[in-house]
Amino acid sequence: MAPTKTIKNKHAANKSGIKGSKDAERSRNDGVLKSKGKPKGKAHTLVTASKGRPNIQELIARKKKKKTYSEKELAIPELNMITPVGVTKPKGKKKGKVFVDDKESMATILAIVQAEKEGQIESKMIKARQMEEIREARRAEAEKKEAERKARLEETKDSLRKKRKRSKQSGGSKGDDDDDSRDVKEFSSAGTKAVKSKKKKSVSFAAPE
């Protein structure tokens, strides 16, 4: 749709007042540009021709000199186009799919793929071996720690046993064998509750000041 233009004075638009004049014509086509077969520079060339009369060859050469800009030189943003970037196909390239049917190209693809896969598998194996080594080391460490802990426990047990023996030897009148036999008899007759009964219940009161 052509843009509408408001004209205040209908007669003022046509300045010359002559119906068939150029101005009148221009105002009639206001806003709508019609492409003409002949180039715009025609009037200009006519003027120069009347002045110095350069020959036609020169004119043609001058016309050719007009610099044409490529799309890259214009620096238009790539996305600001009708066709998206990905869709444009390179010129001069064969249309359609390129099939691989000859032996040589198939063999090259195969060699590339196989080399890649071998590399991947090899790296996987190396990684797995390394992980296994780390796991082994961790397990060995844990075992060592466990053994150490057990040894310490045994040590403390032994020390406690020795301490008990020593105390009994110093305070008791009879030998160790008799003590042990007595303990066993007591446990068998009364069980563990007998130990509790030995203790006397005591009640303590706060001393008056």
């Binding site: 799919k97 099939f99 691989v100 198939m106 693809i109 590339i112 793929v113 196989q114």
Partner: protein, 183 residues
């Protein structure tokens, strides 16, 4: 029917390389001067003798149901899925193998994964997530899958632990009868 493009050929080889060691023998020339080629028809990839493929050009695309050995299917996203029909080729050049006991063959053929209790033996030095071909104890290929654990890790696994994820098994010949070659 048409030959594969470069990218298609690459994806097919990459998939096959997961399961096979020697891919060169697949395209090696035969004694009679013939060789095997890959052909694509209705998104199915076929592994076929060149002479047979040339003969098949006389059949129209719609009328051609299958030729040679159907390896698998090209998906719309450009990936390649191996079908059970490729098993004879995979088992011939298998990289890693798992043998399942008789009590484990049936569960596998019905579509379940391979558990450790069912494994009779497996190939050494098998890394995690690599393709394996599953055999019965009588060396009959039953299907193929992907290892869930490496061989060393699998040794420590409990009997109910999964050793191999099933990808395809011979039971598919019956279960997927309708969609194996078309659709």
């Amino acid at each position: 029917m048409r030959p594969l493009t470069e990218t298609e050929q690459k994806t097919v080889f990459e998939k096959l390389a997961n399961y096979c060691t020697d891919l060169k023998s697949l395209i090696a020339p035969l004694d009679d001067g013939d060789r095997y080629v890959f052909r694509l028809n209705h998104s199915r990839v076929y592994y076929v003798r060149l002479s047979v493929a040339n003969l098949a050009t006389s059949v129209s695309r719609d009328a051609l149901l299958s030729l040679g050995t159907c390896l698998g299917k090209m998906t719309k996203t450009g990936k390649f899925r191996l079908h059970i029909t490729a098993l004879p080729i995979l088992s011939e050049h298998a990289r890693h193998k798992i043998w399942v006991k008789d009590n484990g063959a049936q569960p596998f053929l019905y579509g379940s994964n391979v558990v450790k209790a069912h494994v009779g033996r497996w190939s050494e030095d098998c890394p995690e997530h690599s393709g394996v071909v599953v055999y019965s104890m009588a060396d009959i290929p039953l299907g193929f899958g992907v290892t869930a654990r490496s061989t060393t890790e699998a040794r420590r696994l409990d009997p109910t632990g999964i050793v191999c994820f099933r990808q395809s098994d011979c039971g598919e010949y019956l279960r997927d009868e309708d969609t194996l070659f078309a659709g």
